[in-house]
């Protein structure tokens, strides 16, 4: 993506984001492949956050096939998604906040801690980033031996390291002064522009699909939706930082009561006639896949709608009237992922 900026001296008069440079036509390709072959492709748009894209694609197919995922399968899915959410937020804090504000220590901290979560991904799914782990009917593998112990050990370490990240970055006066009051998105503007995810919650709207329309086992776990009233770049990063803590809380609950039973049910390799939509809260906002089936093994139509694209609507609004030096901070605070927006 590039941003075309008209300036008056140092002030931005108009900013136009130009998207589409990494457009791949996922939706069109999905019409020519069967539902299993679509899985690796449709999770590629966001490799740091692929499990959510995967779930959002698989959920409508299960709805059309009338296949119920077993309880253990849902637990494993939720577990992987929450590990992935922490990893994705750390990645965002490392690059979009750390590097864009010139804070290289946060970059090192974020990537160092994320590596431990990638180890968990590797242990559970066999891949570091793009898992292709959810298939219609359930998940591909059961929890490996010793996974819960390693998960708890990692969470203990992460929890002990979060205060350090807080001191050195999130409440470090150097970063706070840089980001506070920059790129203010008021409550009503956020709702009007239709932003989602941490950007919306940073403007004081506690809206989260996990609470509003629970999927997986989110209705059985106890967690809060952090939101901040200020609506500036700092509050958006604080939302993500608090979400890491909430994800750790969810993971601890999931680790203690993991039900026994099958991990997957058999599902046919067809998409029955009908239409269904998946709603999943990814780390960049709500993700939807709208699947239309015509009874064949290929979906008739797949429409994706991703959090990054919705959040991009706020960028021209936020950039108007700010100084050009604030641009990286504002752009970074949206945690924008170009490929996810361009599909």
């Amino acid at each position: 993506m590039r941003i075309m900026v008209k300036t008056d001296g140092d002030l931005i008069v108009e900013a136009t984001p130009e998207i589409g440079y990494v457009h791949r036509g996922c939706e069109k390709i999905a019409e020519s492949r069967n539902i299993i072959k679509n899985i690796p492709m449709l999770e590629r748009p966001n490799i740091a956050d692929s499990s959510h894209l995967n779930w959002s694609y698989v959920a409508p197919i299960e709805e059309l096939q009338r296949v119920e995922v077993p309880e253990r399968g849902l637990h494993i899915r939720t577990m992987l998604c929450e590990i992935n959410r922490i990893a994705s937020h750390l990645y965002g804090m490392a690059i979009m906040a750390g590097i864009f504000s010139g804070h290289t220590t946060m970059y090192m901290f974020g990537f160092g801690d994320r590596e431990l979560l990638l180890d968990l991904h590797e242990m559970l799914t066999g891949a570091r980033m793009t898992f292709s782990f959810f298939v219609p009917g359930g998940v591909r593998r059961d929890l490996p031996k010793g996974f819960i112990e390693k998960l708890l050990e990692t969470l203990d370490y992460l929890e002990s390291h979060l205060p350090a990240i807080d001191r050195i970055f999130v409440s470090n006066p150097i970063f706070v002064e840089r980001a506070r009051g920059v790129g203010i998105l008021k409550n009503e503007d956020a709702i009007r522009l239709g932003v989602v995810g941490p950007v919306l919650r940073g403007s004081g709207v506690p809206c989260d699909v996990r609470k509003d329309a629970p999927y997986g086992v989110y209705d059985k776990v106890d967690f809060e939706v952090p939101s901040f009233k200020e609506g500036d770049s700092l509050s958006r990063w604080r939302v993500r930082f608090e979400e890491i803590k909430q994800s750790i809380r969810i993971l601890r609950q999931l680790a203690t009561d993991m039900p026994k039973g099958p991990i997957a049910r058999k599902s046919p390799l067809v998409v029955p006639r009908g239409e269904a939509m998946g709603r999943v809260e990814s780390s960049r906002g709500e993700i939807n896949h709208y699947v239309v089936g015509d009874g064949g093994d290929k979906p008739y139509r797949v429409k994706m709608s991703t959090g990054s694209f919705k959040n991009l609507a706020a960028l021209p609004f936020l950039l108007k009237g700010v100084r050009i030096g604030d641009m990286p901070i504002i752009y970074g605070s949206l945690d924008y992922w170009p490929v996810e927006a361009d599909r």
Partner: protein
């Protein structure tokens, strides 16, 4: 949330001087991979029937069924049709391994697949059936105050924990 002082942030940085090094010197020290890591494929030629389900399910069309021209006889596969992988295309989803009805494909921990010549990235069935060479892995070790470091996975853990 009360903002910390700049001194606190600075002290946090200083503290990290005394913590252990997380980094691995990659080509010389390798991260230990768990069982079931989705690296390159391992082909058991004595189990493969040449049905071609792997080539059918491959999302990236990286598998071609080829005839092998060696002298050995495969009683379950008289046609000697085996999968050949073109690793430029492979996305390591391992649906081929999951879908194989005879269990003829398996996961390996081999992930260094870069080659100097373009043709060498095409793995023939004979090459796929070779057992990968193992290496000394390093696993992460958590410490109460000194952070995380890596230790050789076979070595006994020190009592410092």
């Amino acid at each position: 949330m009360k903002p910390a002082s700049a001194a606190q942030a600075f002290l946090e940085g200083v503290k990290h001087i005394f913590k252990r090094t997380f980094t691995l010197k990659h080509p010389y020290q390798r991260h230990e991979l768990p069982d079931g890591y989705r690296g390159r494929h391992l082909l058991y030629m004595d189990r493969c029937t040449g049905c071609g389900i792997c080539a059918w399910i491959c999302p990236e069309k990286c598998i071609t069924m080829v005839h092998v021209t060696d002298d050995s006889v495969y009683p379950q596969n008289l046609d000697k049709r085996f999968p050949q992988y073109w690793y430029i295309r492979c996305c390591f989803c391992h649906f081929c391994t999951d879908y194989c009805p005879r269990g003829a494909l398996d996961y390996t921990k081999d992930y260094d697949l870069a080659e100097y010549e373009k043709e060498l990235i095409i793995w023939s069935p004979e090459r796929l059936s070779r057992t990968p060479v193992g290496y000394q892995g390093y696993r992460t070790r958590f410490h109460r105050w000194a952070g995380v470091d890596h230790v050789p996975s076979t070595e006994e853990e020190s009592t410092a924990r």
